[in-house]
Subunit: 154 residues, 5 copies
Amino acid sequence: MKIGVADTTFSNINMADFAIGILKKNSKAEIERYTVPGIKDLPVACKILFGKYRCDIVIALGMAGPMPIDKQCSHEASLGMQAVQLMASKHIIEVFVHIDEAKNNKELYDIAKNRSEKHAMNALALLKGKTELSRFAGHGRRQGKNDIGPIKAR
Amino acid sequence: MKIGVADTTFSNINMADFAIGILKKNSKAEIERYTVPGIKDLPVACKILFGKYRCDIVIALGMAGPMPIDKQCSHEASLGMQAVQLMASKHIIEVFVHIDEAKNNKELYDIAKNRSEKHAMNALALLKGKTELSRFAGHGRRQGKNDIGPIKAR
Amino acid sequence: MKIGVADTTFSNINMADFAIGILKKNSKAEIERYTVPGIKDLPVACKILFGKYRCDIVIALGMAGPMPIDKQCSHEASLGMQAVQLMASKHIIEVFVHIDEAKNNKELYDIAKNRSEKHAMNALALLKGKTELSRFAGHGRRQGKNDIGPIKAR
Amino acid sequence: MKIGVADTTFSNINMADFAIGILKKNSKAEIERYTVPGIKDLPVACKILFGKYRCDIVIALGMAGPMPIDKQCSHEASLGMQAVQLMASKHIIEVFVHIDEAKNNKELYDIAKNRSEKHAMNALALLKGKTELSRFAGHGRRQGKNDIGPIKAR
Amino acid sequence: MKIGVADTTFSNINMADFAIGILKKNSKAEIERYTVPGIKDLPVACKILFGKYRCDIVIALGMAGPMPIDKQCSHEASLGMQAVQLMASKHIIEVFVHIDEAKNNKELYDIAKNRSEKHAMNALALLKGKTELSRFAGHGRRQGKNDIGPIKAR
């Protein structure tokens, strides 16, 4: 089993380290790291991780700025990663943090850590099979903050 | 006949259960479940349901948050599912609920249930053939709320 | 010659009937109907009309709601139909009516009828060849309302 | 050498005539015309001009209305033409005029003429080779209005 | 090793010269230049640089205007370049400057120079391998302005 971890130099938090920590603690999967300048460079990195490096899943971690143009960039990156997933028929777990999600650096750090770690667990679950997460279906799970939990049937 | 049902752990309502209930009641189709973290993970899950699991149609159920970034995510998910449909030449019935559609949890639950169930019926109709729904063409049908009905010819 | 006509149950006006009326009056083309729930289901229906049903052109008729999310849906549908056209190297004439184009049901009905009928004529023209419409180039033609006509050279 | 010229009946200015005038005056290239209803019909027309008609480059001329939905349409058309270029590995010179660029019909006409003619020259330049325009790199050239010229090094 | 440098005549700053200066100073890579009218012409130029000219990476430099329609154009260009990267499984380093990033021509010039030069260095790093930039992961690097640096762990 091989897991790709793609990240950026743009981010001001080393999100890949959080994800890799979880992966190492919870699996014996081999890890392939790929670091690019920014989020728009991630899709082709993911494609190379699937192709040349034969990864079974990729975790793509990045940060997006607070301006409208930054939302546009994250949209382009996300669409690129949609395409890569469909080309490879394999999952990319996108772990993006938007700077305007947080009020200050401490909160940004907490969001980035929580999201990276929980999504590393999600990646491991998806590798186990398509119904591994079904027991949590509709549970209102969140990454980067607390789960909201399911709405109870009336 | 094989029907894929893809859903998420992000949703706080188990929409897949609503759809599966209808499918079981109204058909003998085999059902393949696939649960992913969020809506952006649905497109590749649908592709795998068509490919590896040989589904004839997929119902993709998910929930989108109320913020602008959530609309962006749902847009990316929807575009990914457009691509998957064209790759497979098969329908994906997208059943998305946006949290800002409802004033409270009760209404959200009702929308999710109604939309999931009606679209499960739509999936069964599409499997019967391309004119199965033609008698309802222009009828102003809605999923998640009541039909608005056709405008009468002047 | 075979013309596909794809439409929806979401629309509250039977636009396909308008288009088919014109096609039957002005050609001997065979018509293949395909009815889907909503506009986002149209692209793959068009692809199937080109592939399995060997249509030479498709007229895709649908209605979009008045909310921002409805614009997003129509955008996704339109991008899907762009992709289908490029896959098939054949035209899809998109006949979309947006509910917020009209002040009331009567106006909506008139727009839908006018647009469906004029675009059915456009489909027949495109089937005749790539310069069939060249005599109308720059004429400010409109579907759904009156032509605005050409700006005269100064 | 063969140049495709695709245009629309929606435009209220015959932009193709401006482009063809320049092409005939400045080259001996063969010209293939293709007229479609609106800008969203241009991408597949361009694909057919590259494929069936073996054009080496295409000039695609169209007009977009002033409403938000018209921007959406032009965006869909432009994305379609991006895809066609990548499929063909050949340039499409997009010559779009937006009605809200001009204060009146006279200005609209001037913009359309200037942009069509300058871009016809650009098409001829690109056919000569990839560095034909390099002497103008960073020159602040504009089509539809006057060039702004380069910023001088400090 | 071959590096493509694609640029535009629309830009009013010769950004390619900045990038080429850095590439020549820091590598012995062969350089292929390709100049097009505007940013929307860049994606197919990049595809040709990868295909016909066998470049290993491309630096695509362009400027976008300050209006909403200019953001739309840059979005189309960026999506086109996402597609080209995935077709080639090679990086395109996008170096776009938006005119509204700067208060005046001097600042615009400084941003364009800084961004072009730093991204030329990024291109050289990516050519060395997928972990060449990993020591800078999470460092808050910026192109066009000063790095913001990493957030320290709490």
